[in-house]
Subunit: 140 residues, 2 copies
């Protein structure tokens, strides 16, 4: 992990190139950088993307809680940024990350753990960590 | 490629499990099934996802053109479905595909061809196909 943050001026120029939607959001896909496993998809505001690029720790925006969501802040399952990429129409980013532990709130490595199979939806993986252990009882 | 379409009843049950948003959409990430390369992100309506699962050829929904977008219909750069997966909150799908040619309208294999680097956005790849050749002059 040798992520290098951009200088402030370069960062601003890059953020200006991103097309945030009417709600101020871009889609963000997290992919484990060395295995290629797609872990999750979430959303980012300009502020979330800026923090992510500055710190090298992935920060999303929670649409339900309407605030910055520093991935792993509660659960410890942080995402270290390896490289961020922007797509052709600049409204989605791909985050190549090193995921500590699991990405999914169900305790699974990836959120995409169900497959559309001929007989119906099939679970491909079991939780690696008990979700109660991930979030403790801090939210009582 | 041995994709097997689900039976109609199983397909309906699976589609009912998907949480389409207020606009009737889910995000769909396309990933090359054997290399892990993330190719693009687009959107699907229930009808688009149904057609994709039935035919094994990926069909998105174009938000700008407001109609089904059978990937490769104009350009020939089709996506053959290998497996589709649903995420934990059921509002995004991951499509493991075999991409024929290139996914990006710029002629590049992946739409995520720009990296956020310390000095600014850097193009990682050049077009493999001339975009004019992809779309010809059928849209004059």
């Amino acid at each position: 992990m040798t992520y290098t943050a951009p200088a402030p001026a370069a960062l601003d120029t890059m953020l200006d190139a991103v097309s945030f939607d009417a709600s101020g959001l871009v889609a963000a896909i997290a992919q484990q950088h060395d295995t290629g496993e797609v872990l999750m998809i979430a959303w980012m505001t300009r502020e979330a993307l800026q923090e992510t690029l500055q710190t090298g720790r992935v920060c999303y925006y929670s649409r339900s809680r309407k605030k910055l969501w520093r991935k792993g802040e509660t659960s410890g399952q942080v995402q270290h940024l390896h490289e961020a990429r922007l797509d052709c129409d600049a409204d989605a980013v791909l985050l190549l990350v090193n995921q500590i532990g699991v990405a999914c709130h169900t305790g699974r490595r990836s959120c995409f753990y169900r497959a559309f199979e001929p007989q119906g939806l099939v679970e491909l993986t079991k939780p690696e960590i008990d979700p109660n252990q991930l979030y403790g009882h801090t939210h009582t």
